[in-house]
C-alpha cells in the first residue's frame, strides 16, 4: 500500500505492514524529551504512578533551557528537581548550563535525532526534528510520564498535507519566510491534527538549519508533525555524531494526501507575522512604518549558526539604533563557541547588541528581555500571541534574522535590502 513518510515510520514502529490515517496505534518511543517547565509535572506524575525506573535512561532527555540559568528561586527549584531526577535515574542526556542549548537546537547537534525515529517531547516545538526525517511531536507532561514508565505511547495516525516548494530563493529569504508564507495561507489551524510534509527543489536546496526552522513552526499551523525526507545533507550531518544505524523513509509517489499546495518562492520577499498571530503574515514591504523597542535574535526557530551569520552579515560595521535594544542569544553552546571563533559575536557586540548564554529567554517572556506595556519587538522566534513576550499590552512581530537585524539598525521593521549603500562592510 502506498504510504507517506509519516505513515511508514508509524507502521514500522507499530510492527505493521501499513497504517491508515485516523487509526490509533501504540508505538515504542525512541526518545522522550522534557524541559525545566514540563519535566517537574512529568516527574510528579511519574512518581504518582509508583514508578521507580525510567524504561530506558538513554532514551530520556532533559534540558533546562526555559528559565535557565535560573531566573528566580522557584525556577531554580524546578531545575533542581530535574537534575536530581536525572541523577537518580542515571539519565546521561541531561545538559547542564555551559553545555546546554535550547532543546530543539541541541538534540540534533548531539546526534540524538536520526531519520526514522519516533520522538515525543513535552514541548510543542518537538515537531522540529521532522526536518531530519523523524516522526516527532509535542505532548504534555502526563503523556511523557507514561512513556517514561512504559516506553510506549499511543498516536492517532495523522492525515498528510503536501507542500511542494519550488523556485530560486531570493537573497534574504530563508526557511523562516517559507513557513511564515505557508502559515499566512493556511492559518493557525489549517493543518490541525495533520502531518505537514515539505518537498520540492527549494527544500532540497535549503540547508539543514532552514529546514529545521520550517518544521519547527509546523505546530503554528496546528500540525501534529512536520516532515522532510532525509537526504545526503542529513547523512553528512550525522557522520561523526552518531554510530547508531537509522532508516531513511521516502513517501511513495502515489501516497495519499488530503491536500497538496504548490509554492513558488522565486518572487517571495522576506515575510513578517504581525501581532497577535503567526498567520497574520505580510511581505516586509507591506508592513508599513512600525517603530520597535527591541529586536531579539535567537530561539529554537532561528538561533542556529546560519541565522547568526545572516544577522552578522547585516550588522557588520553598522550600529543598532539608539532607541532599540538588540538581544542575541545563540541557541546552543556549540553555536555560541563557533560564532565566537567566526567573529560573529564581536560584530553583535560592536554594533551595540547584548549577547547572552544559550536560553529560551524572551521567546516566551520568561527573562532576558521581557517587554513592558506598549512596547513593540521584532523577533526571530515562533509565536507572537498576546503577552507572549511580556505585558499583554506589548506587541511582537516575527521575522527572519536578517530582517530582525536590519530593523534593529533602522529602528523600525525593515528589509535588509533598504541598507544597501548605507554604511556597513
Amino acid at each position: 500500500m502506498a504510504m507517506t513518510i509519516t505513515e511508514k515510520i508509524l507502521a514500522a514502529h507499530a510492527g505493521r505492514d501499513a497504517v491508515v490515517p485516523g487509526e490509533i496505534v501504540r508505538v515504542p518511543v525512541d526518545l522522550a524529551l522534557a524541559n525545566d517547565i514540563t519535566a517537574p509535572l512529568a516527574i510528579r506524575e511519574f512518581k504518582r504512578g509508583g514508578a521507580k525506573k525510567v524504561f530506558d535512561p538513554d532514551k530520556v532527555v532533559l534540558v533546562p533551557d526555559h528559565f535557565a540559568p535560573n531566573k528566580d528561586i522557584m525556577s531554580a527549584e524546578q531545575c533542581k528537581q530535574m537534575r536530581d531526577f536525572a541523577r537518580a535515574m542515571g539519565i546521561a542526556h541531561y545538559y547542564e548550563i555551559g553545555r546546554m542549548g535550547v532543546e530543539h537546537a541541541l538534540l540534533p547537534e548531539e546526534g540524538l535525532v536520526r531519520p526514522g525515529m519516533v520522538i515525543i517531547g513535552a514541548d510543542s516545538h518537538t515537531c522540529t526534528y521532522g526536518a531530519m526525517g523523524a516522526f516527532s511531536t509535542g505532548m504534555g507532561s502526563t503523556d511523557l510520564a507514561a512513556a517514561w514508565i512504559t516506553g510506549w505511547t499511543w498516536l492517532k495516525v495523522p492525515e498528510s498535507m503536501k507542500f511542494t516548494v519550488t523556485g530560486r530563493m531570493p537573497r534574504w529569504v530563508g526557511g523562516k519566510d517559507i513557513i511564515l508564507h505557508i502559515l499566512g495561507k493556511i492559518g493557525v489551524d489549517g493543518a490541525r491534527y495533520r502531518a505537514m510534509e515539505f518537498t520540492g527543489d527549494a527544500i532540497r536546496g535549503l540547508g539543514l538549519d532552514g529546514r529545521l526552522s520550517m518544521c519547527n513552526m509546523a505546530v503554528e499551523g496546528g500540525a501534529k508533525n512536520g516532515i522532510i525526507e532525509a537526504d545526503a545533507l542529513v547523512e553528512d550531518y550525522l557522520r561523526g555524531r552518531t554510530e547508531t544505524a537509522y532508516v531513511m523513509h521516502r513517501s511513495d509517489d502515489d501516497a495519499n494526501y488530503v491536500e497538496s499546495l504548490e509554492i513558488d518562492v522565486s518572487g517571495l520577499e522576506p515575510q513578517v507575522a504581525r501581532p497577535h498571530s503567526p498567520d497574520n503574515v505580510a511581505g516586509v514591504s507591506d508592513v508599513g512604518e512600525v517603530k520597535i523597542d527591541q529586536a531579539f535574535i535567537g530561539s529554537c526557530t532561528n538561533g542556529r549558526l546560519t541565522d547568526l551569520r545572516e544577522a552578522a552579515a547585516v550588522l557588520k560595521g553598522r550600529e543598532v539604533d539608539p532607541a532599540v535594544r538588540l538581544i542575541v542569544i545563540p541557541a546552543t553552546q556549540a553555536v555560541y563557541a563557533q560564532a565566537m571563533r567566526e567573529g560573529l559575536l564581536e560584530v553583535f557586540v560592536e554594533a551595540g547588541g547584548a549577547v547572552s548564554t544559550p536560553t529560551c529567554g524572551p521567546c516566551l517572556g520568561g527573562h532576558m528581555g521581557v517587554l513592558a506595556e506598549g512596547e513593540t519587538a521584532v523577533a526571530t522566534s515562533n509565536r507572537n500571541f498576546i503577552g507572549r513576550m511580556g505585558h499583554t499590552g506589548s506587541k511582537v512581530y516575527l521575522a527572519n534574522p536578517a530582517v530582525t537585524a536590519a530593523s534593529a539598525v533602522l529602528g523600525r521593521i525593515a528589509s535588509p535590502a533598504e541598507l544597501n549603500g548605507r554604511g556597513g562592510q
Binding site: I37, T38, P40, L41, G50, S75, G140, A146, G365, G387
Partner: protein, 166 residues
C-alpha cells in the same frame, strides 16, 4: 457521566499563553496556576468562576504550547468541562490525560450564551442548553477517553491497568 453548570464564553484561538502565561510556569501548584487562569483575557474571571461551571469557546481552543499547566489551571478553577468548536490537539490530549473532559460541539458552542445553564451527557454525546432547551449532538467520547476521565487521568488509569494485567 452528566455534567451541569453555568456557561462562560470565550472566542477563537484562545492559546495556552492566554490560559496560563509563561511567567506563572515556575510552579506546578494547581491552586497557584488556577489563580491566574485566563488572566490576560479576563483578569477577574478566576475569582468569579464556580465549581461545576463550563467553558464554551470557539475554534482551535488551547493552541500553542504543550504546557499541561493550561488544562490543570482550568480544572483547578473547578471547571467541569470545556465545549468548543474545535481544539488544538496537544491541549485535547492533555485535558483527558489529567481527567478534564472536553467536547467538540460546533453548533452547541455557537448557540450557547454566557450565563446559560448547560448540561452535557458525555457517553451519549448530548449537550442541552437551559432547562428543557435545545439539544445538540456531538460524537460520543471514545471509551478509552471516558475511562481516563473516570479514573482521574492517564496515570491512575495506567496503574489500574498494570494491576489488572498482574
Amino acid at each position: 457521566m452528566t455534567l451541569k453548570g453555568k456557561a462562560w464564553k470565550f472566542g477563537d484561538d484562545v492559546d495556552t499563553d492566554l490560559i496560563i502565561p509563561a511567567r506563572y510556569l515556575n510552579t506546578t501548584d494547581t491552586e497557584e496556576l488556577a489563580r491566574h487562569c485566563l488572566e490576560p483575557v479576563r483578569p477577574e474571571w478566576a475569582g468569579e468562576v464556580a465549581p461545576g461551571d463550563i467553558i464554551v469557546a470557539g475554534r482551535n481552543f488551547g493552541c500553542g504550547s504543550s504546557r499541561e499547566h493550561a488544562p490543570i489551571a482550568i480544572k483547578g478553577c473547578g471547571v467541569a468541562a470545556v465545549i468548543a468548536v474545535s481544539f488544538a490537539r496537544i491541549f485535547y490530549r492533555n485535558a483527558f490525560n489529567i481527567g478534564l473532559p472536553v467536547v467538540e460541539a460546533p453548533e452547541a458552542a455557537a448557540a450557547i450564551a454566557e450565563g446559560d445553564t448547560v448540561e452535557i451527557v458525555l457517553e451519549e454525546g448530548v449537550v442541552r442548553r437551559g432547562e428543557g432547551g435545545e439539544t445538540f449532538r456531538f460524537a460520543p467520547i471514545p471509551v478509552f477517553m471516558m475511562d481516563l476521565v473516570r479514573e482521574g487521568g492517564l496515570i491512575p488509569w495506567l496503574q489500574k491497568e498494570v494491576k489488572t494485567e498482574r
